[in-house]
């Protein structure tokens, strides 16, 4: 009868559930299984250090997690970020080998989907992982916020949305919020005597937030944002949206002039489309252009219109230490070797999301997220940690502050348009210093 | 019981039915024969409301009343107790034999979505229906396979199931379209025997069948059609000898 088959079904389910729980409880990584034999290549996702001279018995293995958008609309950030985080783990294993700590990395794909992100975080948690680096989308961060706080999981993120500038225990954001970047850009406009700005932005949470922040910050200098036009960043749409936004921006600006500027709030790929649309525009091609931390140093944008960028004296700000900072140089160098391409956009931040956790663990010897949380708060006050993105200060919301920015621009070097470091914004003083090679960009 | 008067049905230039008159007597088994393309299936479609005729009327006599059912939509024709079967059996494959019957019973209280959750509203009716269904299944000889899935039946059993289903739906007049096409001879006889058994209980039959050698043994009255017209009618023996009928089969 039916009830018989029903009970069989129930029994099967119970057995499966029990088996699954048993599988969960049994953790292969628990007693530091000596798995150092495999993984000769560094860029697989469980990156392990090559065994050092320390005896295997005294080595303590700490597994940290990374939650990255490896599929979906922000895949391009996630894949590059994964590499940066793997590099960080490799570096940490070299740096802290003497302390008897070895780091392992487990990567999960969040697909920039809040639901998936929370599920994967819970999976990581069940594996005993209490430190998770690299959360990318602000929507993911929103979804995991409560879970992290309740279960004491320390998360480092590269989200910059001003929406999350709220108390959020156990979550630290490595890049400054868009408010900080907006401050730099406003100061830069002011310094160059700009009075009218028109903005074309990527219509996602990041682009909208940064645009709003620029509008607020420029008010303080009496600079007017005459218009802000979004385009759809969704990869299923068509880049013609960028052209249309540029068109509208051109109309809003009306006439060119030395007091006018064009601000491009984009990533690299979509920025290229904006540049292509703007370089032939009769109005926009005659004013100064500005970018953001996520399109300067971009390869696609340079390819699309390097000459035009140079002609428009394109400049953008990247939160960064002094360009001669050995940390950054070291990182950039290593990254290129390790990942096969130069770091762009958020790569150094991704690196730091992992490195700051590992350094805190190595320095304190503690793997208690509560301890690390207070250590990071302490370090954030003093700027103790200095990473690929310079000294890290956190404000009361665990967001990066007092950040110094590098002003990056495009000039023609030997006939080819090239990215150069044109100046430096000191986050503490709010002053802009112009480097000698950047003089041309700052002249009128 | 059913009176067909001067039905004309035209498809473009092609006149499929050209003034057909026919009477299906209550309580009898009437056979309709004719070569391919003579208009038999078209006629059934006109009667059951699938097609509207260009001319002519269809009358249904029941309970002492006469209804002009010409051009009625299929579900209204069905509601009068006229049930047809199809050449290709349209049974509910993944339902059991019993379910096939229960599913077609009329006026089920449990088919409302809110009533469905309240078993009290329909359990008694369901029980009555099941009893009737078992009786019907026993009548047509499917009593032993009542809990089998319909797709596992043999071709002959499927035909019987269609018949049983028509009975379950409360049919007074059952129109069978080729009930023994593709059925082995022994089973074919059994099916016609069943038709007679059911007929003995008062159900009128109107059968379209090609295999006249078998069918003639079981029917009361025969109509023969050719080219959209009735060419002969009468008792089976008479029709079988009618040269016009033979001509229609031989002459093409």
């Amino acid at each position: 009868m039916a009830s018989k088959t029903l009970w069989i079904a129930v029994a099967v389910v119970v057995v499966v559930v029990v088996a699954a729980i048993a599988a969960l409880v049994y953790k292969p990584s628990a007693p530091a299984a000596p798995t150092t034999s495999s993984a000769p290549s560094a860029s697989t996702s469980t990156t392990q250090a090559t065994p050092t001279s320390t005896t295997a018995a005294s080595v303590k293995t700490v597994t940290i997690g990374a939650l990255l958008p490896l599929t979906g609309s922000l895949q391009f950030m996630g894949v590059s970020g994964q590499c940066a985080i793997q590099l960080a783990v490799q570096d940490a294993n070299q740096m802290f080998a003497s302390k008897g700590i070895q780091f392992q990395l487990v990567v999960q794909d969040s697909a920039c989907d809040p639901t998936a992100a929370l599920q994967k975080l819970q999976t990581l948690y069940s594996q005993g992982i209490r430190f998770v680096a690299g959360l990318t989308c602000s929507s993911e961060l929103s979804a995991v916020k409560n879970f992290a706080e309740q279960n004491h999981i320390l998360i480092t993120s590269i989200s910059t949305s001003p929406l999350l500038a709220v108390p959020k225990p156990y979550i630290f954001r490595l890049p400054p919020t868009d408010n900080a970047q907006a401050k730099v850009l406003a100061a830069l406009y002011h310094m160059l005597g700009i009075k009218r700005v028109v903005i074309v932005y990527r219509a996602d949470a990041w682009g909208q937030g940064l645009t709003q922040a620029i509008i607020n910050e420029t008010k303080k200098y009496g600079i007017q944002v005459v218009g802000a036009f979004g385009y759809d960043p969704s990869p299923s749409a068509m880049p013609a949206a960028e052209q249309a936004a540029v068109q509208k921006a051109s109309a809003a600006l009306g006439t060119p002039g030395p007091d006018a500027a064009f601000e491009i709030i984009s990533f690299d790929q979509d920025g290229a489309a904006v540049v292509q649309a703007a370089m032939n525009d009769p109005v926009l091609s005659k004013v100064r252009w500005f970018g953001t931390d996520s399109n300067v140093y971009g390869t696609a944008i340079m390819q699309a219109g390097g000459q035009a960028l140079a002609a428009a004296k394109f400049m953008g700000a990247v939160a960064s230490p002094n360009p001669d900072d050995p940390h950054y140089l070291h990182f950039a160098n290593e990254f290129k070797k390790f990942c096969g391409h130069a770091p762009t956009g958020y790569d150094p931040y991704y690196y730091d999301t992992a490195m700051i956790i590992m350094e805190a663990i190595a320095e304190t010897g503690s793997t208690d997220p509560t301890v690390i949380n207070s250590v990071l708060e302490q370090w954030g006050k003093n700027g103790t940690y200095v990473g690929a993105t310079g000294p890290v200060y956190f404000d009361q919301y665990h967001d990066r502050q007092y950040a110094s920015y590098l002003i990056v621009g495009v000039v023609i070097v030997n006939g080819t348009p090239t990215w150069i470091n044109a100046g430096f914004y000191n986050g503490t003083t709010g002053q802009i210093t112009v480097f000698p090679q950047g003089q041309a960009l700052f002249s009128s | 019981m059913l009176e067909i008067k001067g039905i004309v049905k035209q498809f473009g230039a092609f006149r499929a039915l050209d003034g057909v008159d026919m009477t299906i007597e209550r309580g009898k088994v009437t056979l309709l024969i004719g070569p391919n393309g003579s208009g038999k299936t078209t006629l059934i479609n006109v009667v059951t409301g699938v097609y509207k005729p260009e001319a002519g009327r269809v009358y249904f006599h029941d309970d002492g009343k006469t209804l002009d059912i010409t051009g009625w939509p299929p579900h209204k024709v069905f509601a009068q107790g006229i049930v047809r079967t199809f050449q290709i059996p349209q049974i509910f494959q993944k339902l059991t034999v019993m379910e096939n019957l229960l599913a077609v019973a009329r006026g089920q209280a449990g088919e409302g979505v809110l009533n469905a959750m309240r078993e009290g509203r329909w359990a008694k009716q369901e029980e009555e229906l099941a009893e009737r269904a078992f009786e019907i299944l026993d009548l047509v000889g499917l009593g032993d396979v009542w809990d089998r899935y319909a797709y596992s039946l043999s071709a002959g059993q499927m035909k019987l199931l269609e018949l049983a289903r028509a009975l379950m739906a409360g049919a007074k007049l059952i129109i069978l379209d080729e009930p023994i096409a593709g059925i082995p001879i022994a089973q074919a006889h059994a099916i016609f025997q069943t038709i007679r058994d059911v007929n003995a209980k008062g159900v009128t039959f109107w059968v379209v069948e090609h295999r006249i050698d078998i069918a003639f043994k079981y029917v009361d009255y025969v109509y023969a059609m050719a080219s959209g017209r009735v060419i002969s009618q009468g008792a089976p023996d008479a029709v079988a000898k009618d040269p016009k009928v033979i001509e229609s089969y031989i002459g093409g």
Binding site: - | P35, N36, G37, S154, A155, E178, A181, G182, I183, P184, I185, A188, E209, H210, R211, I212, D213, I214, F216, A240, K241, P243, V245, I246, Y249, I250, G251, G252
Partner: protein, 240 residues
């Protein structure tokens, strides 16, 4: 040795058992006509020979080769051409409506070497001059008679030894039908054996050398066409 020899054939479609112990022989170079009322299993017999029906038991031998379990394309290679009824029991016509006349013939010549196919094509078009005129017209725009002629030509493309025709004159005007019958005769004169299923028994018997009558899946008559008079045929068909 007869060209076609069928012994004790039981066949049908899956669950639907149609043919009951059919045995018959067709000699080379003759026109054999297969008669019987609708539903007697005539088309099923042709489908069984062509490899399109399910054979439960018995055997079919063509030109000395047993083709009982062969695939349709193997059977065609052995030399059996088949012009289906239209619409056939799959509900499709016996030509490709969306293809031109010429393309229909090309499609029917699959597996034939290029030069032989071209020759056969010219021959077929020669047999029906009307088709030659219409060779670039889509088949769906042809008249009923033209469609039947096309279907017959398609059956000839592989130069069969045995050509089976299923009701080639169904639905045709008498004048057109007699054109088809004379075409069938000239095909026989080309040396091709013909197995013809016809509704129009009278005409068929006129051109046929041998006749078979099937009723309800059984063979009721087998013999020279001349000896089958209409009265006898009528009785057979009416099941008496």
């Amino acid at each position: 040795m007869p060209l076609l020899k069928i012994s004790e054939l039981n066949a049908g479609y899956g669950k639907f058992h149609v043919l009951n112990g059919i045995s018959l022989e067709v000699e080379r170079g003759e026109i054999a006509v297969l008669l019987g009322p609708n539903g007697a299993g005539k088309s099923t017999l042709l489908n069984a020979i062509a490899g399109l029906a399910t054979i439960y038991s018995g055997s079919i031998v063509v030109d000395g080769k047993d083709i009982t379990r062969s695939s349709p394309s193997e059977i065609q290679k052995i030399g059996v051409g088949y012009v289906m009824q239209s619409p056939n029991n799959f509900g499709t016509p016996n030509i490709f409506p969306e293809l031109t006349v010429r393309e229909n013939l090309v499609a029917a010549s699959v597996g034939v070497p290029q030069d032989a196919a071209e020759k056969a094509l010219e021959e077929a078009l020669g047999l029906f001059p009307k088709l030659k005129e219409l060779q670039n017209r889509k088949a769906k725009f042809l008249s009923g008679g033209e469609r039947q002629m096309l279907a017959i030509s398609m059956g000839l493309m592989k130069r069969p030894k045995l050509l089976m025709l299923d009701e080639p004159t169904a639905g045709l005007a008498p004048k057109v039908a007699s054109d088809v019958f004379s075409a069938i005769r000239s095909i026989r004169d080309m040396g091709i054996t013909i197995l013809l299923v016809e509704q129009n028994a009278r005409k068929a018997l006129e051109i046929g050398d041998r006749a078979f009558v099937m009723v309800t899946g059984r063979l009721r008559y087998s013999g020279p066409a001349k000896e089958l008079d209409e009265e006898k045929l009528g009785r057979l068909i009416m099941g008496q």
